[in-house]
Amino acid sequence: MRAKKVLRPYLFILPAFIFLGLFTYWPVFKSVYYSFFRWNLFTPRRVFVGLDLYREVFQDPLTWKVLKNTFQLGLETIVPSIIIGMALALLLNRALRGISLFRLAVYYPSVLPTVALGAIWVFLFIPGYGLVPYYLEKLGFGQVRFLEDPRLALHAIAFVTVWKQAGYFMIFFLAGLQNIPPYLYEAALIEGAGAFQRFRYITFPLLKPISLFVVVMALIGSVQWVDQVFIMTQDAGPFNSTNILLFYIYQTAFQYWDLGKASVLTVIQVSILISGTLLAFRVFERGIYYERA
């Protein structure tokens, strides 16, 4: 009887666990295992080499460039998308005729498949007559070549990503804003607080839990997408200027057929994701505490 009671919850999570195990934990385990083997075109039958591949990967300047790109892109997308997302939420959190239409318009880019919007932006960025370079040229900026210039390509991708995910974050902030009890604002108004003071002392602190949640989501998300790079800058841009970790894994495994090295890179990627997730857990715990207070 007691055994049954103990077993029951495990029975409930079993289906989920089977799928997670088969399609997440087992492949991760396999990647770790393969990362100790040389396994490429020249050695199609894998050979155990211990930590050799790790040494090679960390000695390769390209690895560091890719990691730098990955973090730079993370920074360039997370900070602006959160600020813009919050600003949009503040703007759209009011009773206005047709407000849902505005919300829909802002949210819309995040519903589009990344592949489709990547293709749209390639078109908008075409040097000479693409919408963006065309008007920049009219405004006297000269000929800007966003996806062809190694100094600009990564920023262009960051821009498109911000455009896509700011609306998505806006939804979270909007939910957060609507959870703030209106009586706090009423009290503040009675006390004679101005708009900035209301934001600084009520809105901002009370949005903190949701902001932390969004930051963590954005952090984890930023190492997981790759579609923009794939579509907008084939082969990771001029001089690998848009090569980020996930793309580099794809390239190493499926263009260069170096499966051992790709496994090492996968281990790095998984480590980053696990750190992000651990961070997320700590933040969630704090978030819950905050709400109780």
């Binding site: 075109l41 020249f42 199609p44 390639v122 075409i126 040097p127 000479g128 007559y129 040229e137 000269g142 000929q143 070549r145 996806l147 062809e148 210039d149 190694p150 084939q234 082969d235 001029p238 001089f239 690998n240 499926f254 263009q255 260069y256 057929w257």
Partner: protein, 432 residues
Amino acid sequence: MRRYLAVFVFILGVSVGLVAEPVKLTFYYPVSVAGPLAKVIEAMVAEFNAAHPDIQVTPVFAGGYNDTLLKVQAAILGGTPPDVAILLSTDLFTLKAIDAIVPLDDFIADDADGQEYIDDFFPALMANSLLEGKIWSIPFQRSTPILYYNKDLFREVGLDPDKPPTTWDELVEYGLMLTQRAPDGSVTRWGLEVPFSGGFIWNFEAFIYQTGCPGCNEVKIVSDDGTEVYFTSQHVLTALRFFRDLSVYYKIMPNGYINWGTVPSDFLAGRAAMIYHSTGSLTHIRNNASFEFGVAFMPGLSCYGTPTGGGNFYIFKGIPEDHRKAAWTFVRWMTSPEKVAEWSIKSGYIAVRRSAYDTELMSAFTAEHPEYLVARDQLAYAHKEFACYNRAKVTKILFDQLARAILGEASPEEALEEAQRQANAELEPFRK
């Protein structure tokens, strides 16, 4: 009587059984140019199946070339290789390295007209199939870059629309005339655009081959066994200097990255007066050009020159003998002159066999559209496409170094020496 009947029924049963059990083949193919080509392939396979009751081919559309190679690789690792597939002609070394394919010489020898069949293919298209004295693939969907030029713009600047440039000097001269600048100096129309992006050196290869000539000054940038490259040769250096000068010195071409996909759009929009692009784009350009355009050989330095590109049929290892035989029957049927002609007309690829141009279908088509013959005639100056072991990585290395030189971050000599050094490191393990 009853016994005879029983025997009769038995024989009938066996023969029905034989008929009902055709050899089942899996055929992976990619589609990498615009247009509903998957439908064309499926229709051709259906026709083959109808004509061969003993063979049943299942076509599997597998995405682009690299996706198809990926699926083939995965299938081999999983122990269920496809029987036959269309992959890049330059994938030969990769497929050889993972021991995935069989040479086709025995099939060719077994066919009464085998040698005749092979000799009918244009030699330049066959060149990428040869390794270690054997034939490993059969050309099917092949292309070369060619020169497209806007005849209206030629007239506008006072050039003869029927005389496209034939030499590098003329290319520069015409390019300078055709390039148009706004009063503030910004370019409103480029004289020339040559795709240069995505680690793709195909168009640049043309410039290399144009610096030599077959028979007298042979250009060789890779050894026949695919283990050595010659990036520091005079041919590559001359090509790189000229390619750089087009944008840096003469300023008739945009500098740096030029996207493969936007070049035809630029041409159609009148933003580029001349472009180098695949023969495969001819139908697209013909259907969308609002001006009169011409097609010609790419101009040369000492000679015309072009690489070939595209996909070939491969037959795989680890499949039963009857499957291999059936696969060969399928390949022979798909590359019969009539089918080659049909495929060429519907896709825009070059018809890979000489005899295909003699078919009624093809002669009627080319009589109406003589521009489709330019690519065929340019084959006389065609070289095999650059291919070696670790090809993806080696071409990426060369591409990045070419880009360094073009963007002025290194001299052409330095860049090519660096490319050679890095490529050597990649190829070293494959040298026996």
